[in-house]
């Protein structure tokens, strides 16, 4: 045998042993379970199989599932608010948002990022899982320049990148979902399964929409999204000052009555501002605000003024 043949043989043998080893692990797991005497050999095999497919936490929601949760969440948001119809503004917001998403930690999602201005004077911004980002007309009116709007979009992209929306789904609901979803590998549900899964899906949407629209995220998620907003904006080439400017403006115009909309779903602007200032100082050299961007922003939001 030549040296080359020997090398081939050795490699092939090693690979065969590796495969044989894996098969042995599976068999021994089943044998151990069966050897307790409490379950039959067949049941033991299927237990091993079940362990392979069961999921348990939000992190195991697939990108495709996240997309369908996001689509339905967006559909529910759009049943409350209508899109603001202005093609030029829509194009401006989508190009800016996509540029920011490209510089984020998660530029690619199953269905991509999409940005929409909502036709309401309420001041709010929210992101459905997977990348459907909404900002209200009222909020855009409060932005002084492109850096400010970029900061808001980047904050929402931060929520999407970290899958904060999915983390508002109740654990018990996920466990129920995964029990049905993981039962066997087939893409089609029978009618009984479909009714069950759709019921769980409705519950999931309830959790997500309630968090986005009514209750707001846990404040730790808001602080995290602020930190990411600064990073994503700077990576794109924006001055990070937009976020502090926006929060300062919100603090000054804080309503005196009970908190509603943005003020209800977000921690106090003063509280966020204090953290943002510290984080901005830690960024070091950052891009400056430019007149060319402020001018095109003014042009794009003209119909709202």
């Amino acid at each position: 045998m030549s040296a080359r043949t020997k090398a081939f043989a050795a490699a092939a043998l090693a690979a065969t042993l590796a495969l044989a080893g894996c098969q042995a692990i599976k068999q021994s797991a089943a044998d151990i379970i069966a050897s307790t005497g409490k379950v039959s050999k067949e049941d033991a095999q299927s237990l091993v199989k079940t362990a392979e497919v069961l999921r348990s936490t939000f992190a195991e929601i697939t990108e495709e599932e996240e997309y369908y949760i996001g689509r339905a969440t967006a559909a529910l948001i759009l049943s409350r608010y209508k899109p603001y119809r202005n093609e030029a503004l829509s194009a401006y917001v989508n190009v800016m948002g996509t540029a920011l998403a490209y510089s984020s930690d998660r530029p690619e999602t199953y269905g991509g990022y999409h940005f929409l201005v909502l036709d309401t004077d309420e001041v709010n911004a929210m992101a459905a899982p997977g990348g459907f980002v909404f900002v209200t007309k009222g909020l855009v009116r409060r932005c002084a320049d492109e850096e400010t709007l970029a900061a808001i979009l980047a904050h929402e992209i931060g929520h999407v990148a970290e899958r904060h929306g999915l983390q508002s789904i109740k654990k018990s609901r996920l466990i129920d979902a995964f029990k049905v979803l993981g039962s066997e590998a087939s893409r089609q549900f029978n009618s009984e399964e479909l009714a069950k899964v759709t019921g769980i899906f409705e519950g999931v949407l309830g959790d997500v929409v309630e968090t986005l629209v009514e209750r707001g995220y846990d404040r730790k998620f808001e602080y995290e999204a602020d930190k990411l907003a600064l990073a994503f904006a700077v990576r794109t080439g924006y001055s990070p000052g937009g976020l502090a400017e926006f929060l300062t403006g919100m603090e000054e115009r804080k309503p005196s009555g009970p908190a509603a909309g943005w003020f209800k779903t977000h921690p106090s602007p003063a509280d966020r501002l204090a953290r943002v200032k510290i984080e901005t100082a830690a960024l070091g050299a950052v891009p400056a605000k430019l007149d060319v961007r402020t001018a095109r922003f003014a042009e794009a939001v003209k119909p709202l003024r």
């Binding site: 990108e63 899109p83 991509g112």
Partner: protein, 161 residues
């Protein structure tokens, strides 16, 4: 001479089979994306690829992976668009026959899918899916994004800090 030659062929075939099995493969996990000429989003798209398509992983560089498609196109894809092929050690016997179609395996997983959405829509007429469909159609092109960056002196068009 004849026998060792046959032996060499046999081992080479076995080895080739394992190399194919163990070659680094990633699977597309987003609905659709592009394999790009350079590792940046505004770079030209050489091939469009869909969820479940397996790609050969050639090298990696700051968030981007150089890949080769089934059709032989070599280019770059962002790491967040793919996942490592899941080789399930406990299911190695099944894997033997499914390795060739890892994409199909990924697609076969049950979950919240179109079927569930359709069922949900049937019972929730108020949810405005038509508006969501319209929103999904708004897709800025790479050229538009590049022009926006250039005009606003963003990204690579930005000045000194």
């Amino acid at each position: 001479m004849k026998k060792p030659a046959r032996l060499t062929f046999f081992f080479a075939a076995v080895l080739a089979a394992f190399v194919l099995l163990l070659a680094e493969t990633v699977v597309v996990k987003v609905k659709t994306t592009g394999v790009r000429r350079d590792p940046k989003f505004t770079s030209a798209i050489l091939a469009s690829i869909k969820a479940g398509e397996p790609l050969e992983r050639l090298e990696a560089q700051s968030g981007w992976i150089k890949v080769k498609t089934k059709a032989g196109v070599v280019g770059w894809i962002h790491s967040t668009a793919v996942e490592a092929r899941k080789v399930n050690l406990l299911a190695m016997d099944k894997t033997m026959k499914t390795q060739a179609s890892a994409g199909e395996v990924a697609l076969a997983a049950k979950g919240f899918n179109k079927q569930v959405e359709d069922k949900y829509r049937a019972g929730n007429a108020a949810a405005d899916f038509a508006a969501v469909d319209a929103l999904e159609k708004v897709l800025p092109t790479a050229a538009e994004i590049e022009a926006f960056m250039k005009q606003g002196k963003l990204g690579e068009y930005g000045g000194a800090r």
